[in-house]
Structure formats: C-alpha cells, structure tokens
Symmetry: C2
Subunit: 914 residues, 2 copies
C-alpha cells in the first residue's frame, strides 16, 4: 500500500477490513458486507471505496484523488486471489458489480452497474467455463445496455428498440424466446447502438470499464433525483456515497440458479415468519425492478431444501446479530448460496409495532429500543381509515396487497400531475405501469398508489410502505396507456380524474368512492404506547372542540384538552342568528356604553351634560336590548357545549380559548345570504351590507380579533366565562372533577391580559356568588403574537399558563399568511430557501428562538409556569422534540396525532439520553 | 412642630424653608415661590404642603395624614405674623389662595380657590379697612361662587344664573355696572344658590374653608381631565400635587391696583423685550381666563413708571437667575408690586430658537443647553406652511396672532367633534368662544384654533403655541352659537363643515381654502442646527423617492437617502402599462421558465423529455416576449429616475429598496378600469379579471411581496439592479460621486438574501462588463420581518447593511395591520393598554427588544455592520433616542422631519451624558 490515506477496504474469504460500525465511511451496504463477511456469511468478495473518497472526487471536480488508482488495483488483485478468478481473463474470468451505498439507505436512488468485466474475450471464456452461451451473451448484452445507459448516458430505450426489432424479426414475444445466437447478434447490435449514441466504441478494457463505472457512481451522488430524495427525506450531513466493487454471482446461469429477496419477519404484518420471494434463473434486478413477478419464498423449500435450510439459518443468524428485522438479498449460483446484502427491513407501522413488541418478548431488544424503533410519522398508517366492510365492493382488478390501508381518489397517470392536482386540493391516486425513483414526489402527493407490474418488494411497494401510503402493486389485469391518460380494467375504461378506491390490505382496485372507516388499535400498539408513556416527560393533550373529538382523543391517550376553540359554537344551528344580531348592534352598543360610562365616571356634570347623559341612556336601550339579548341567547348553548366537553374530559384539564376570529367571519359574504339575514333579523338589506363593508379588513390576520374583541366587547368574554363556570359547576356537582383553564388569545401586551382577565374574574366571582359554590380554575394566555414572546416576562406576571400558538406565531414571525403563502412557499422549499414547510414543522432556527425566549423570560418570573403548544406543530415529531428540549410541559395536537406525539415525546427523551 | 414628618414648608418675610431644587417635593410653583422669596423678590407670604402629602392623602382614601393639621395650623400662625393680619379676623383679615402645583407644569389642569378666609364678619372688616364695599362684596360673591363650584361641586352656571337675573332686574349689562349694594344682595343670592345645591349652608369658619379647599386640590390630582392631560403629555412618575396656601393680594381693590402677566422675552418671536399684558383694577384670573382683553405691558410705564421700573428690574433679575425666559404673574395692590409666580415661559419654536441662540450670544447659557432647550417636536412649527402672499385674502374677522403659522380646515364647534372628524381623516379647525382644559384633546386634533375671547396669554393661546398649532385668539367680531353649530362673522354665517383658513401669524380669519407655502428657515435655526450636528452621533438620512424630495431633504440637512422606494416609479404615466403587461404574463412565464430550466439541468434526457423541452421552448416564446419586453420598457424609465436621484444626492449614500408591494397593487380593481386595461393591452376583459382574482390575497401584508417577488421573478430584481448601476455609471462619469446601496426588502431568512443577491450581483457584473467600468456599491437588507431580527446573526453573514423597517416590524411583531388597527387602536391608547400609538412612537418595550436583539446578533458577526432605521419612527424624537441608545449608525425620516431628527439625535447624546 502507498503512503496515501486508506481509501479502499477489502472483504472476502471470511475476513473483512471494515466492520458494521464504519457506516459513515463505508456506507450502509459496505459496512454490512464487511460485517457479514466477518460473521461467516457467504458473501461474494469485494472491496469498498470510502464515502470520503467520493467527497474528494467531487471537490477535485471529478478527478480521482492521488493514490486511489493504486489502492483499487491492489484490492482488485486481492479479490482475484480470493475469488480464484481474474479480471478480464479468458479462462477464469472475474465479473464484478459496482454499486453505490451511502451511510443512509437511498433505495434505487444512485447508480449500479452489473456484469462488469465482460468483453469479447471474456464472454467466450464464460461460455467455455459454463457451457451456457445463452447466459453468457445475455449477460454481455445486459452489461452493454446498463453500462451505456448508466455510465455513458446512452438511453436504455435505444437498446430496447434494438431488442424489439430483433424479436419482431425473429417473430418471438418474450426476451427468453431469443436463442443464444440471437443474443450474440444482439451484442453486435447493442455495440452499434452504443457507438452511435456515445460516439466511441464500447470499451473492451475491464479496468477502463471499472474506472468509468466508479466515476458514474460518484457522480450519481449529486444527480437531481438523489438530491431531491435527500431533500424529501431530510437527509443531510453525509459526505457522499461509498462504492462497492463486488464479485458477481449469477442467478441466471441456469435452472440451478436463482435470486431472491427475503425478510426475517413479515414486513406487512410483522409476523415472525420467513417471508420473501425469489425467481429461478433470474438476475436480482429482475426482482427488484418488478419486471417479473416472483414466487413466494416457501416454494424454495420444494425447489432446493438444502439451500432453503441454509438460507433460513442465515436469516436467523443475521436477525439475532443485528437485533432487527432484516431485508436480505440472495443469489443461488449453481446450487451455491450467496448473500448479497442485508439491511434493516422497511416495514409498515403495524409490522413495526409487532416486531418491536415481540422482540422485547423474545428479549432481543429492550423497551427503549422498541420505542425508538417506531417512526412516529408512520403511526399515521395505523390510524388511517380502511374500507367499510359493509360497502358494496365492485372489484375491477386485483394485485398484491403491497401497503395496507385504503384510499379513495381521482386517478392520475404521472407524478407531476399527482403533485399538481394535490396542490389544487384534490385527492389523487397515482396509477403507473411501474414506479421509479423519479416518481417519489408524486407518490408522496398521492393518497394511494396502484401499479400494473412489480411484486411486494418492487419500488412502488417499498416506498409506499415507507411513506404510509396504501398501495396495490402488480395488478397485471389492468392496462395503462400514458398517452391516452387512461387504464383498461377488463372492458372498463378508467380515465384521468375518475374516482376509484384502493384496498391496500387486500390488494384490490374498486370502482368509485367507497366509504372508509376508522381503524382500531392492536394490543401491540397499546403495549408500545404504554412503554412510550413510561419514558416521555412531555404531557400530550389534544385540540378538540366537541365532546366527540374529546372522547376520541382520550381513547388515543390524550391527557387533557390543550385547545378547545369556541368559535364553532357560534356557528351551529340557530346560534348564528343570535351572533349576527349581536354583531349588528355591537358598535353602536359599545359606542354608547363608552360615552355613558365616561360621563358617569366624570361625576361632576353640568346641566347640559346631565341632559346628554339622559339622552344617551334612552338611545342605549335598543342596542343594549339587542346586544345583551343576543348574548343571553348564546349563553345556554355555550354552557351546554362546555358541560359536554367537561363531562368527556372529567378529571383532565380543559383549556378553553375565548372567541378568536374577527366578527366579519360570522356574517354572510354574498348578496343573497345577506338578504336572507336582513329578512330574518328584520332589518334593511342595506344595513347588513353596510355592516359587512364596515367590518371588512385588509389584513384580517392582523385585525380586530382575539383578545382585541374582548377589549372592545368585554361582555362577550364575560358571557363565555360565565358559560364555562356555570358548566363547570354543573359537572362538578355530578362529582366529576373539572379543571377549566381559560385561555385569552392574541395577547400582545400584559395590559391587554390585565384588562380582559379583570372582566373574566369579576364575572366568575358573580357566578360563584349566585351558585354559592366555587370551582378552581386558571386564566392564561396564548403566546402567538411575537411581541408576547418578546415581553413574556411581563405577561408571566399575570398569566397562569402559556400556550404557544405556533400557527400564528409562524405567520407573524415569518410574515407569511398561511392562506396566501401557497403561491410561493412551494417554490421556497423547492429552491431550498426553507428546508421544510414552516407550517408543518416548526422553524426552529427562527420561530423556535422566539419560543425559547418566551419560555425563558416567562420562567424567570414564574419558574413553575405551565407551558404548552397548541399549534399544529404539536403533532409534528421533530417539533415535539424541540418542545421537549425547550422545557415545555405539554404538547397539544389533533386527536389522530396524539399517539404520534406520545411516541415522539418518548423518543425526544431517548435522543437526549444519547 | 410635632414629631411627624415635615409636610409643610413656609415662605415669607424674605426667607423660605424650601428652594428651587425642591420641585419634586414642593411642585414647580412652590419651589419657585420659595426661591423667589429667598432671592428677595416681593412674593406674598405663604406655605406649601408637599406632593408626598397629596400621595399620603390619596393612599389613606382621602384622609389627612397624622400631624398635617398641626403643621398647617402652625404655618398659618407664622403667615399671620408675617403678613401682619389674621385669618378670619374682622379688623385685620388675612385672605389666602389655595392652589395646586405639581413638579411638572399642568396649566389650568387642577383646582384653585381664591379669596379664601372671607365670611360675613371679614367682609365687613375689609370694607372698614379699604372703604371699598364694592370690592369687598365682589370678592365675597366671587369666593362663594368659586368655593361652591370648585370645592363643593355646585355648578358655576347656577351662580351665573343668579347674577344674570339680578342684572336683568337692575337693567344693567355688565357685571361692573352692579353697585356695592347689588353685590351685597348677590352675596345673599349666592348663599341661597349654594345651600340649594350643596345642601348645607356656606361655611363661615375660615379654617373649615381652608381644609375643604386643600382637599379639593388634593382630589383634583386624579380628576379625569388631569389624568388625561398627563396621558396626552406623557407625564409619569409624579407623586401628586403640592398645595400652595398664599396670602392674597388684590389687583381689584381700586384704580391703584392691577394685575398682569409678563414675559422676559417675546414668547412668539423670541425678541429680547419686556413683553406682557395687564389690566388695572382686575383679578389675575380675569387675564388668564381671557375674560377681559388686557393692555400691552408698555402702557404700565405710563400708568405707573415706578412700578414699571421695579417690575422690569425684577424681570431681568429673574431671567438671569433662572437662565431662561420667564413667564411672570404680578399684582399691584394699592401701588405695591407683588410677584405671584415665575416659570419658564412657553414659547413658539421660532421664539425658542431665537432665545436659545441669543442667550448663547449673551453667555447666559452654553451651546449644549441651547440645543437641549428646543423641543424637537416643536420644530415642526418652523417647517409648517404659511399663507401664500399672492393668495386673495378675504378677511372675515381679526383677532390676536396667538400662535404662528397658517391652517386650512373645516369648522367644528367642540372638541369632541374635532377628534371625531379628525379620526375620519378630515382637516378641522376648532372654533370656541374660549377654550378650557377640557378641550385639550380637540385642540390636539385640530389643525388650528380660533377663539372669540381671550388674549395672548389665554388658555387657547398658551396651549396652541405649546402644541405648535396655529391660533387666532380673541376674535371678538365673530359670534359663536354652539347650539346652532355656527358662527356669525358680520352678516356671514359659517356653519359646521364650512372651510376657512386661519393666519396665526397675522391673527386673521379668512374665507375658504387658501393656498399655503413652505417656510424658510432662519439664521438662528441654521446656527442651532449646526450646534446639534456638532453634538449628535447618529447620522440623519431621509426617505425620498424623487429628486425633488431629495433636494428638499438635503436642504434640511439630510446626509443621504435611507429609503428610496421604487414602486412609485412603476405607477407613473405610461410605465403602468408595461407593468401590467408584465403581470399578465408573469406566472405563465415563470412556470415555463422553471420547467425548461429543470429539464435542461437534468441533462440526461429521454426522447419524450427532449420532445417536451422543445415544446416548452416554443410555448415559452410568447410569454417571454411579453414579460421580458415589459421589463425592457421599464428599464430606461427606472434608469432616468435613478440618474435624477443620484445627481441630487451626489457625494451622499442612496439606499434603494427593490420593488416591495404585491403585484395586485398594480392592477385596476374596478370593472371599468379592468375593461380599459383589457382594451389597451389587447386581451379579453375576462383575462384581466381572472388575473385580478388570481392575485387576490387574504392578507396582502403577509403575502407575495418584497424579496418574495424577487425569488419568483428574479428578472425584476435584475432589471432594477441594472437600472441602478447604469444610472450610477452615467452620473459617475459626470465626476459626481455615487454611493448606491441596494436594499432587499422583507427578508426573513438568509437563504432568501443569498438567492436574490446572487442574481443582483450577476446582473451588475454584466453591466460592469458592458460599460467597461465599475462603481462601488453595497447590498443589504431591510430587517422588517421578526424572523430576520431573530436570525440577524445569519443574515449578517450576507448583508452589508441592515435597515430596520420598523413599520412592518411593528405590524408583524405586534400583529397589527396598520390599515385595520384604526378600529381598535384608539380604544387601546384610551384604555392605556398601549401608552402611545406604536406606529408613531416605537414600542421600545416590545418591538424595541427585537431591534436591539437584531443589532446585537448582527454585530456579533460583523462588528462594523452599518445599521439604520427607515420606518416612520426615524422622525420621532423618543424613537430616535432609542436608536441612539441601541447603537444605530443613522436614522432616516421624511424630509420635513430631518431637522427634528438632527436635534433629537443631539439631545440623545446630551441625555446620555447626564
């Protein structure tokens, strides 16, 4: 070895220079190959070029660092020795694969070249050695195709065109119908295609082939699809990809050969069983790409019991070693088993739960590891709806149940359309002949995925499971035409935009929009969640406005309500008419009230002022009757709502937010509804219209809402406070524990809080006096205006709790209106200006600083200040981790996100312990 | 004296217990009386109850603190001794005044009771002593009126009613026509009025009178008008009012008596002259309240030369002692001069300038004191418009030139209307018979003030000068009817809402709306400003969008442009059509451009993708021609604008902000104009309408604007950058120094800045190459999104300067839309939730923290980072002081505010030195 840095690590002959711990350096695949080799697993020998070398190659503008050439040559020699074969040799030829492999798995994202080392001389040697000319020429023509396409940029379609022509000429249908001679002819045709499109002859020098292929793998690290994949999956901080050069073994050398993929447990259900698929006489790529539909693994026992036993033995060994469910690629070459790859298997949430819980039972892992094994976002899958069993199912096609759950949507036939339609608010199903890494964005946008070709381990199936999308794969009885944007299912034609339903659990395609039902959670789920609860420190509450939501969330494990919005209570049924009556008289009411109060406070009145006061009081009677009358009508409705919610959440705290939206939201905006309102409230239509115009706001987000309404109309806050406490007393009298927390929204200054709180407490004291009983309660505030966070030390002198309203805090802090940002936010994340949509995942760098500052300032004044979050970020795992880090007491999220939050909160503790 | 705390301070007989330094304790008036007494000025003796005592009284719920009674009694005895008279004594009666006096002057805001000590016995004694029964009964009936009104809350109108009845009965017109017997009768009538309304008989015990009066003064501290005055004038931190009990001297005991007010310099012009007014045989209150119009002071020399000489000698002594222009109240009682009060005189800005500059010339004060003497907000007066000399003046009434300047507005007849009309955006003139402290709010709301009665020192005149409002006082030839809301000027009737013009410099009331012209600045102004410039550390720039504005601001002393908005350049003349053409094609253009770029970047295209690319490029041609064509049309206009501005500001930096408003602001909103646009741009009206709808935003404030436009359409930023640099090169070639600073608005994340800056620099480099020359420039950003301030450390890595856009920072940070907040912000300041309108004066507690944080974070990265402010706060004195404190480099404000900013910046330094 030269004096230069070690850039290449060898594995083979039962020994390897690397280990499983060297993922950063050798990539996941390289580290695993080294580890397996050391474990005694029969892995074809090879060597791994480090990820650092990829970075150095990039940095040098696409040049090999000094010393690399020598190290590659040295390792190639070692490999030749280990495999007892020589690169480019006629008699004992060594063929290799060149594959990428980063520290984090990026399936199918980067380049791979197989059968490297073949040339005109070697192909003859292989024929001589195997006596299988068909296999030799088939491998050779595949190699030219792949090398041309992947390494030299000569489109695969050109080769397809050539083989298509030849098949036509020969009058055959399938590739397998071509004879050895046909394939020999095809090699010639492919070389011509190569020369035409690449502009050079196909390189016969294997070393040259290898160098170019290594370069292609290095280069693929920064291909646009790989970059996009990393973006989509938030993969950062990697140096590059490693390059694995490994001796080829062949599953397509004859009927004693085969290739397959297997899982140590069922990746769909998590059941402990040998699970997988294989194809005899096939290359591994055929299985992964879904080109041929493979056979279940159990069949291997019939085909070759010895190999089957050896394989299952190795599966047990590997799972025990890695303490996780393994996804293993294997090849049988002339009755000899090789393991090509093993990695943690992707799995559905259900499978992840079952595996984690059962592995704890098997003492393979402990509870903490089990909890850390579940991707919180994945839990969504478990909570996703499935098809109502009573629904009339009109099955139009069947395929493989590739990813569970069900989805209803309109059909689109490419990824771009899927993204575009979704952006327009449509539910779409992505239908493809087969999917490829370019389709990632569209798969993410779709509610479900249907493919015509491919198995349970095809690209579509693997990715859909990872994403938690329902998927039916390999539904071979459909026929897709991209050109016509339609698919045939039997005689039926489904066009773009037509509605279908997918059942990913059964693998069925159903006509129309079928009803979906909510899922129930398994015992594994409950067990794992209880372990998460043992670990987490953050409380988990829910955002719920109705008793129904509250009950559901409680079933999901919510420990209280963190946000109960009261505005919907103003909309329902007849209430809206009382609200509208109130709004019509509101400003006249407030104006007269202020004038009267001002004069009365002044005291020392002159005669004309006394006359004025009397006049005002007379004038006040009508608006007062209307305004206060409307509030009186609303009170019993509100009280009833709160009784329902308090009863549902008995024993748990309930945070109720006072009325938040601007009043104009309660008025009808179109002329017809305005007329109806006028008729109903017995006023002139022009009056309604004038009120709508008067209340119009240029920026309602920054307008007259939240506690600002309570400052202008403290009567509304008083009515709500009364409804809350009267309800609390009713429920408390039934011996149920009630813990009401009254939350004042949109506070920007402590003085607002003081003002509104004074009215609330005064009203509550009245209620207590009237009812001759008391209920403990708290008054706190949302921190959603940046100024509130900035002056949290002042606000903490008056607030008994803080609840960060990160939706508004994000809108104001970043200056984005959520309703309008759609027009440019997509471009922003695409250009990488913001890594993530800040409305989905809290902008920790910016808004997070504001949250952190608010908590620090607040706790300086009141170290025991209760702090939570009630924005939608409360259900986002990475935001939850942040909430844990900054020391919040709880997060609050939508009912379906409660389990995610429980898990994410536990994982935040585990991450901290690391 | 008892052991209790000293609550009462005596002055008299040439010696006082207090000094001028004890303002906090004795109030301004009490401290001055003590100081004057010690100086040997002939002040009637008396004693002062401390402000602390007022606070203690308040705290005790309106009870005298222990020991006060004794101290008052002891001091009363001392006073009797000093004045050689006795309280309540028939033979040698002592009468006293009881007046309020806080540490900060609050003219007319709190209560005063005069002639205290009169009763049925004393009135006889006075008659016996003076032989003037008319004076005695007049004083007595005045005392009953004042005591009844001020102390016991029996309205003055009741007494007026009684005197009116008597005059009618006697068939006389004026009060002075009533005889001594009439007045004696009136005392009876007044006592009856008192008894009827108070419910008790008028107290004959002088000690009781004094106690009740002291209580009334204490109580007046928290009267609503006093509280409002303190709010309006931002007076905080005071304990209460002191109470001054002082021996009465009488200006109304006969023709050898008189009373007056004088100033050591002319408070209107600042000229060094004896200035003032007096009335013989009158009470001081008659002058101040403007009930009789007094005589100029020079006349006193004729009436009584000896007294005139004594008075002017004392005026010189007092000005020299206090080193400031004095406002002095005096009374002549039977040919003996008494000084009742001296204080710093309120003055116009012009007078303030002249006094300050001339006093430096006289070596009375130094430059720093001179600079600190000018209230920055007052400078506005000097810059206020006056009437065009060529205007056709139709004078309908004349009065006193009480406060200089001119004003045009619609007439209103009470303060409440003035406030209400102003709130509706109207220019109003407040017309009153005479003003009183209750009118303060309305006077502030009015452009100018006109009174029917009152002199140069009347309430209206004093307050108007202080506020910088133009005022014509004592226009006795008008006749106001509050009931009819109109005034007569001769035969002409002016109704509420009619337009008139006031010339406060000449004292004329003119019909209609006359043209106003801009003022020129005096030599004193220039001199004082140059002293301010020597002291200040902050630079002062201006916000200017046109060469005209730039030239004006430069004349006012602007040292550069801190904010040149470019959007108006998009509106003028024909440009708007190019802009609208650009907008029509913008999104199709951007969409196709992105698709083409994406495919081209991908490189490795398949056949159908290549076909797609060709198709896109074909499709792109039309929108490209329209969009880029429109930009090409705009370029020369923009370039010309910048040439003008760079030329005007040669040698000084010019900060140019790239296009900021959302595009929909450039489209017509009504159907008719949309049709016109369609016709002109040769598209279908529906297309225009669709575009308007498409661009509609729910919260435009938080929408697609600022640098977000440059992210979507970097071509616009490039066009602007090109126009700026081409203009810079043109001007630089004329050997004028150009310092362009390109400012990117609405940056929230450093990544936005990086993106836009890259495009700008790239375009500028192209310009430099084309023109074969370079001009130095900077690229910086506005800090106006809270997130930008929060991540200023990141942003400072890319920005060469920060300019705080505190308008938007306030809107987003406080969550107030400026357009909408009007609906509740008034209520907010009224309720004291925010002390000041945060759009006028920076909210230092909240938004200020964000500014401070932004500067600190930015300077951590780049200690030399240039930081300025370009919100409207840049012209607000208290905000400027804040900008100085947090270490900004400059403030930028509207041209007229530049002198204010220069002065405020200097005062910030002086305040810091204290």
């Amino acid at each position: 070895m030269s004096k230069s840095k070690k850039m290449v690590y060898f594995f083979g002959n039962g020994k390897a220079e690397g280990t499983a711990k060297m993922k950063e350096m050798l990539g996941g695949k390289g580290a695993n190959l080294a580890e397996m080799t050391n474990l005694g697993v029969p892995v074809p020998g090879g060597f791994t070029i480090t990820t650092e070398t990829c970075a150095a190659y990039d940095k040098a503008g696409g040049k090999w660092p000094v010393g690399l050439k020598k190290q590659v040559e040295d390792n190639l020699k070692k490999l030749e020795k280990a495999m007892k074969a020589s690169f480019g040799d006629h008699d004992s030829p060594l063929l290799v694969s060149v594959r990428s492999g980063a520290a984090v798995s990026m399936p199918g994202m980067m380049d791979t070249v197989l059968n490297l080392g073949l040339n005109d001389k070697v192909v003859d040697g292989i024929i001589a050695k195997t006596g299988n000319a068909r296999f030799a020429y088939d491998s050779y023509r595949r190699f030219i195709d792949m090398f041309g396409d992947v390494v030299m940029g000569c489109d695969h379609e050109h080769f397809e065109h050539a083989i298509g022509g030849l098949k036509k000429q020969r009058g055959v249908k399938d590739d397998t119908d071509l004879t050895a001679d046909d394939l020999k002819e095809l090699v010639k045709l492919y070389k011509a295609v190569y020369k035409k499109h690449v502009g050079k002859t196909f390189p016969q020098d294997p070393i040259k082939q290898m160098e170019l292929s290594i370069n292609a793998v290095f280069g693929s690290w920064n291909s646009s699809r790989a970059v996009k994949y990393r973006e989509l999956n938030n993969i950062t901080g990697l140096k590059g990809t490693a390059v694995n050069v490994q001796a080829m073994v062949f599953g397509n050398m004859g009927d004693d050969c085969g290739t397959g993929v297997c899982f140590t447990r069922n990746p769909s259900t998590g059941e402990k069983e040998y699970y997988g698929e294989f194809l005899m006489n096939a290359q591994g790529e055929d299985v992964v790409a879904g080109i041929r539909t493979p056979v279940p693994m159990i069949e291997l026992n019939k085909v070759n019991t010895k190999i089957y036993k050896q394989l299952t033995g190795l599966m047990d060994k590997l799972e025990k070693h890695y303490k996780d469910m393994q996804d293993i690629e294997f090849t049988i070459q002339q009755n000899k088993l090789y393991i090509l790859q093993t990695r943690s298997g992707k799995r559905t949430a259900e499978a992840a739960m079952r595996c984690a819980v059962e592995m704890v039972g098997e003492k393979l892992i402990d509870k903490k590891v089990a909890v850390s094994r579940i991707e919180p976002a994945q839990i969504d899958q478990l909570l996703h709806p499935h098809l109502d069993s009573k629904a009339k199912r009109q099955v139009i096609a069947t395929g493989l149940p590739a990813s569970p759950g069900a989805a209803v949507g309109q059909v689109v036939f490419n990824a771009e359309d899927a993204e575009a339609w979704k952006a327009r608010g449509k539910d779409v199903l992505l239908v493809r002949i087969e999917t490829s890494p370019e389709d990632i964005g569209g798969m993410d946008a779709a509610k479900g995925i249907l493919t015509q070709r491919g198995g349970m381990t095809s690209h579509a199936a693997v990715v859909a499971r990872g994403m938690g999308r329902c998927c039916v794969a390999g539904a071979s009885d459909i026929e897709i035409s991209y050109a016509k944007k339609q698919m045939k299912a039997g005689a039926r034609i489904i066009k773009e935009g037509d509605w279908i339903t997918l059942d990913g659990t059964r693998g069925e395609v159903l006509l129309g929009q079928l009803p979906l039902v909510e899922p129930k959670m398994s015992g594994n789920f409950a067990k794992l969640m209880s372990w998460a609860d043992e670990i987490r420190k953050l409380g988990v509450r829910t955002n719920a406005d109705t008793p129904e939501d509250a009950i559901r969330a409680r079933a999901f494990g919510a420990e209280g309500i963190g946000l109960c919005r009261t505005e919907h209570m103003f909309f329902e049924g007849d209430r809206i008419w009382a609200v509208r009556q109130m709004i019509l008289s509101a400003d006249v009411y407030a104006d007269l009230r202020d004038k009267i109060v001002k004069l009365e406070e002044q005291g020392d009145l002159e005669a004309d002022q006394k006359k004025e006061l009397a006049g005002l009081k007379k004038e006040f009677k009508v608006p007062q009757a209307e305004f206060e009358g409307a509030l009186k009508k609303l009170l019993p409705y509100q009280r009833k709502d709160f009784v329902g919610i308090f009863t549902a959440m008995a024993g748990l705290p309930v945070t109720i937010r006072l009325l938040d939206p601007p009043l104009h939201e309660f008025l009808p905006q179109d002329a017809k509804s305005q007329k109806e309102m006028a008729r109903r409230l017995k006023v002139k239509p022009a009056e309604v219209q004038a009120k709508v115009e008067d209340l119009h706001e240029f920026n309602p987000m920054l307008g007259h809402r939240g506690c600002r309404l309570s400052v202008t109309y403290p009567e509304i806050a008083r009515m709500q406070a009364r409804a809350i406490m009267e309800a609390a007393i009713i429920v408390a009298k039934k011996r149920k524990k009630v813990l009401p927390e009254i939350m004042i929204p949109l506070v920007g200054a402590v003085s607002e809080l003081v003002f509104v709180k004074k009215h609330i407490i005064d009203e509550i004291e009245k209620v207590f006096k009237e009812k001759k009983t008391k209920v403990a309660y708290m008054v706190g505030t949302m921190i959603e205006v940046p100024r509130a966070a900035l002056t949290a030390d002042e606000i903490a002198t008056e607030a008994e709790f803080f609840s960060f309203g990160t939706n508004d805090l994000t809108q104001m802090g970043m200056g984005f209106s959520r309703d309008d940002a759609g027009k440019f936010l997509g471009e922003y994340t695409e250009l990488g200006i913001y890594e993530k949509d800040p409305f989905q995942s809290l902008d920790q760098m910016g808004i997070g600083r504001l949250v952190d500052l608010g908590i620090q300032l607040g706790r300086e004044i009141n170290p025991k200040l209760k702090v939570g979050i009630c924005g939608e970020h409360g259900g986002d795992p990475s935001s939850i981790e942040f909430c844990h880090e900054v020391g919040m007491n709880y997060v609050s999220c939508s009912p379906f996100r409660v389990p995610i939050a429980r898990l994410a909160a536990a994982q935040a503790v585990l991450a901290e312990q690391k």
